[in-house]
Symmetry: C2
């Protein structure tokens, strides 16, 4: 169950496709890019938060993957989003697929600034 | 959208409550401990994987939280599980709640070895 966990916290997103406040479109895009990256969706669940003072709706969503999960939390009033892609490397090394998926997602939000990190998971003591 | 992301990858779990292969019990426990920690569940989704060579069923599951998410992936044939608790600190600092939740979950699996990490999220460049 060794794996790779990638995070990207994006600020000042130009968000040309209006993903930050459109959960249906965001879910469809996540599923599409996951397929394209060669990872396998086994379930998904997206939830809308009540509108903020400017009337925009934030979303939190997760895709359950055969390889682990993708999570997304949007903050439309802050033009911001957090992304997680976690893959376990059982049977094959999924690291390149995870990077491809996260890179593709980040590009769609067109952030002005990004804080990206990676964590090696399941490393035994 | 600054936040704290805690991970725990657990090995050699004694698993006294049989959580690794019982998704319903695992989901109920995750929801209960999240409530106890003072965090708010807004959705959850658990998925069973096909039985492995020894007939045990692994689970992957996520709770969507008002504060971000909890994710769990079990590997019963390896007596292992990965846990994630990610909280954003909007309006209040949820770090102590996240630690309380993860500590409580880790204890229920009674691992022989644990690999725990923490990542500060949403730190602007």
């Amino acid at each position: 169950m060794r794996g790779l966990h990638l995070t990207a916290d994006l600020f000042d997103c130009a968000d040309p496709a209006g993903l930050l406040s459109d959960g249906a479109r965001l879910q469809q895009l996540c599923e599409h890019l996951t397929d394209e990256a060669g990872l396998t969706v086994v379930g998904s669940h997206f939830h809308a938060f009540p509108p903020g003072p400017h009337g925009t709706v934030g979303w939190t969503g997760v895709l359950l993957l055969a390889e682990s999960h993708l999570a997304v939390h949007t903050w439309p009033e802050q033009h911001a989003v957090t992304l997680d892609v976690f893959v376990c490397n059982v049977g094959q090394d999924n690291s390149a697929r995870a990077r491809r998926l996260l890179d593709a997602l980040v590009a769609r939000f067109a952030p002005g600034r990004a804080h990206r990190q990676q964590v090696e998971r399941g490393v035994t003591a």
